[in-house]
């Protein structure tokens, strides 16, 4: 047994109401007066009522097919036997809906509730109103009738049928169809019209709802629920969908339809957005190509008697690089080559690379030789944070005497192939552009023999990895030499990539080849500029020594350079290596150092000498 029928009917008046229209109810007021009630804890529940007063105006109610709901549990009572002296009532199926409180199992004092105003008048009792609750002492008895038609089942007037129950409503509708069973305080006094019924009510065959077999009335109940209580139905009735579907499915269909429409709109918007982004990407790539072309421009294959081949290969991604190069003609008879590498990657490196390239180009275009251009650019682009700097090689080729003058700033020297002697001089090098250190100190001038190949490159080539090893200058020189008489820069990068396992930095290469076949006088001049501090260190003697200058000449040159540097700040030591032995010339640096305007020029309107143009 799944419930404890603690709903003591002690002293209760039971009023039966139904949800049916009032005129269909034959028994409107029923007052069941129970004086006392004992509820055994075991099943079946026996209700011993010493005195049950039923006020029935001559009508008994037989309620077939009812269920009992107790505290949310629905039970069906197969048979209720009311032992009445003189009258025995058997209801085939009585449903008693009792919602009990936990303490309802205890006996309840008989008189606690106000008297039910159940009179003999056939007027609807208060219990007939829907959703009235039965308030018993510690429990409430809800009696409802499931079938309105059954409520009007005729019964013999002589046989009083104290309908203890109406229908056991479905849980969802129980509160709506509830009747009150209120114990009257008093008996008699007009409230009990019929003979006093005293007897015992025995409820048997109690089942829990979970094991209740689906009776023939349950589909009806569901249908009723759909008909009356389903909000989907209520909504669906107002949806004019021209579909042969039930009402309850219309809101669902409508919701799914709206969902599909919204998803479709979203998909369309996404498609449009993707198209727009694709267009923007094309534009950006074009702009990026323009930016990249500003750094690594297309160069004519033949310029000023030189065959030029350039190539660039980014390390990773389209805008990774900081490499740049430029080949141009600053003035007739000269070809300038600029190749550099900005530290770092990304857009900042691009901006710095462009700045460095055009600054250098402007100074070379203005006629400065490579060393002076580097020195001036290093002063102009000095970055105190030392975060932005560039290593650059600048070269100017003189077509007249076929000499190449180049200077580097923190950059590897170009690879020279086809020269009679190949000596690498990196003793006195210049720091990169951007450090707050004077740069542009060294410069080399060499004549190009027929078949000479000069390869400027960025350090991405030498720093290409080959199984954790760097490729190195020697291996790169071998690769350049193996390219043949007409090396192509693109092929060089391809060979380097093939020789390496990883190229973590971007690579740029610029290869110059001499078109001419005839030989010219060999020229090899090394220049270094040094101030007093630099002259006090070992590097200048080392430089002269590596150039092959005899020791006595070194000592003489150092003392002479010290004198000049003491007077004019710096001295330039020019070593002519093409002669034997090498000759050293010490010069004042004013000739190569450009004049910088310390004072801004006077504006018009101010007093001062005014330049006059005469035609």
């Amino acid at each position: 047994m799944a419930f404890a029928l603690g709903a003591t009917l002690a002293g209760m008046g039971v009023a039966v109401c139904t949800g049916a229209p009032a005129d269909a109810i034959a028994v409107a007021p029923i007052s069941l007066s129970v004086a006392s009630l004992s509820t055994p804890s075991t099943s079946p529940v026996a209700l011993s009522t010493p005195a049950i007063g039923v006020s029935v105006p001559g009508v008994g109610v037989s309620t077939p097919g009812v269920g009992v709901s107790v505290g949310g549990a629905e039970v069906s009572v197969g048979e209720a036997t009311v032992s009445v002296p003189g009258a025995s009532v058997t209801t085939p199926k009585v449903g008693v809906s009792v919602s009990t409180a936990p303490e309802a199992s205890a006996p309840v004092p008989p008189t606690t509730s106000p008297p039910t105003p159940t009179t003999g008048a056939p007027s609807p009792t208060p219990g007939a109103t829907p959703s009235s609750t039965a308030t018993g002492s510690g429990g409430s008895v809800t009696v409802s009738q499931r079938h309105p038609t059954a409520a009007s089942s005729p019964a013999a007037g002589a046989t009083q049928q104290p309908s203890l129950a109406g229908a056991a409503a479905h849980p969802s509708t129980m509160s709506k169809r509830s009747a009150s069973a209120v114990a009257p305080q008093r008996r008699g006094k007009g409230s009990l019209v019929g003979p006093t019924v005293t007897g015992k009510v025995t409820l048997t065959a109690v089942q829990s709802r979970s094991t209740l077999p689906a009776g023939p009335s349950r589909p009806h109940a569901r249908a009723d629920r759909h008909a009356a209580g389903n909000p989907l139905d209520a909504i669906g009735r107002h949806i004019p969908l021209p579909l042969p579907v039930p009402d309850w499915s219309k809101p669902i269909i409508l919701a799914l339809l709206l969902l599909a429409i919204s998803l479709g709109i979203r998909s369309r918007l996404t498609t449009l957005r993707a198209r727009r982004l694709e267009g923007q990407r094309t534009t950006l790539l074009r702009d990026l190509g323009a930016t990249q072309a500003a750094l690594v421009p297309d160069v004519p294959a033949h310029i000023g008697g030189l065959a030029v081949s350039v190539a660039y290969r980014p390390a990773d991604g389209p805008a990774a690089g900081g490499d740049f190069y430029d080949v141009f003609v600053p003035e007739p008879g000269k070809v300038a080559i600029i190749l550099g590498d900005v530290a770092g990657h990304g857009h900042q490196a691009l901006a710095q690379a462009a700045l460095t390239r055009y600054t250098l180009r402007a100074y070379v275009q203005a006629g400065l030789e490579p060393r002076a251009a580097l020195a001036l650019t290093g002063r102009v682009l000095a970055d105190p944070t030392l975060e932005h700097f560039a290593t650059v090689a600048v070269a100017v080729y003189h077509t007249q005497d076929r000499t190449l003058t180049y200077a580097t700033a923190g950059h590897p020297h170009p690879i020279l192939c086809g020269f009679p002697e190949h000596r690498r001089l990196e003793v006195c090098a210049s720091p990169p552009i951007g450090w707050t250190v004077p740069t542009g100190r060294c410069q080399t001038t060499r004549s190009l023999p027929p078949g000479a190949v000069v390869c400027f490159f960025s350090d991405g080539l030498t720093e290409a990895r080959r199984d954790d090893e760097l490729l190195g200058c020697e291996r790169l020189s071998e690769i350049v030499a193996a390219l043949g008489a007409q090396p192509a820069a693109a092929e060089l990068l391809q060979q380097v990539t093939a020789a390496a396992t990883a190229t973590p930095d971007d690579m740029a290469a610029c290869i110059l080849m001499l078109d001419a076949e005839t030989d010219v006088a060999a020229v090899h001049i090394e220049e270094v500029e040094a101030d007093g501090r630099a002259l006090g260190r070992h590097e200048i003697p080392r430089f002269l020594q590596s150039c092959g200058v005899p020791a006595p000449a070194i000592a003489r040159a150092m003392s002479l350079a010290g004198d000049i540097a003491a007077r004019s700040g710096t001295a330039v030591l020019r070593v002519e290596l093409s002669t034997t032995p090498a000759t050293v010339t010490v010069l004042r640096s004013d000739r190569t150092r450009p004049t910088i305007y310390r004072r801004p020029p006077r504006l018009s309107g101010q007093r001062g000498p005014r330049a006059t143009l005469t035609t």
Binding site: A343, G344, H345, P384, T385, L386, F389, T391, T408, A409, G410, H411, P412, E426, V427, C428, A429, S430, P431, P432, W435, T436, V437, T439, R441, C442, D459, E463, L470, G472, P504, R533, A534, R537, E539
Partner: protein
């Protein structure tokens, strides 16, 4: 993946005056990805009071211009705070590093020594060096520049 390793060694126990030179021993590849940490370490030591830094690059397999830029940054900071020196130790076997230093052209800023003892003796012989530092450098030269590793940290950065 570039792996490098910097550890600080110091024989000076005078933490207040920082009398002496802080020796940093680097190994691995000091490239673009390692240089920010090298710069940070050196500037941090300068901020804590060290004025003479000796960077031992004998075990470095590769160094690029950004790492030398970090050294130049340390020199610039030392000049801001009133003087000091950055000395690099690299033995003759490490030609690759020596060549990079030659190419960088920073000999006027950063003295390059072949051994630590040479660096310490150069520090002791430097004209503008604090008396205590000079005394320490002389002692260190006499000891043969054996130093005890105090701090050792391993840094591992992804190649950019």
């Amino acid at each position: 993946m570039s792996v490098f390793h910097i550890s600080e060694e110091s024989t000076s126990t005078d933490a207040r005056g920082r009398a002496g030179a802080l020796v940093l021993v680097a190994s691995g590849e000091m490239d673009y990805s390692a240089s920010p940490q090298l710069r940070e370490r050196m500037l941090g030591h300068i901020a804590t009071g060290w004025r003479h830094l000796v960077l031992d690059l004998s075990a470095v397999t590769f160094i690029d211009s950004t790492a030398i830029g970090a050294l130049v940054g340390a020199v610039a900071r030392l000049q801001e705070v009133g003087g000091g020196s950055v000395r690099v130790v690299c033995n003759n076997h490490n030609e690759r590093v020596l060549r990079i230093f030659d190419m960088a052209g920073v000999a006027s800023l950063i003295a390059l020594h072949r051994s630590r003892a040479e660096a310490f003796s150069a520090l002791a012989a430097a004209p503008t060096v604090d008396v205590r530092v000079r005394a320490w450098a002389e002692q260190a030269t006499a000891r043969g520049a054996r130093a005890q590793i105090k701090v050792s940290r391993r840094c591992r950065t992804a190649a950019l």
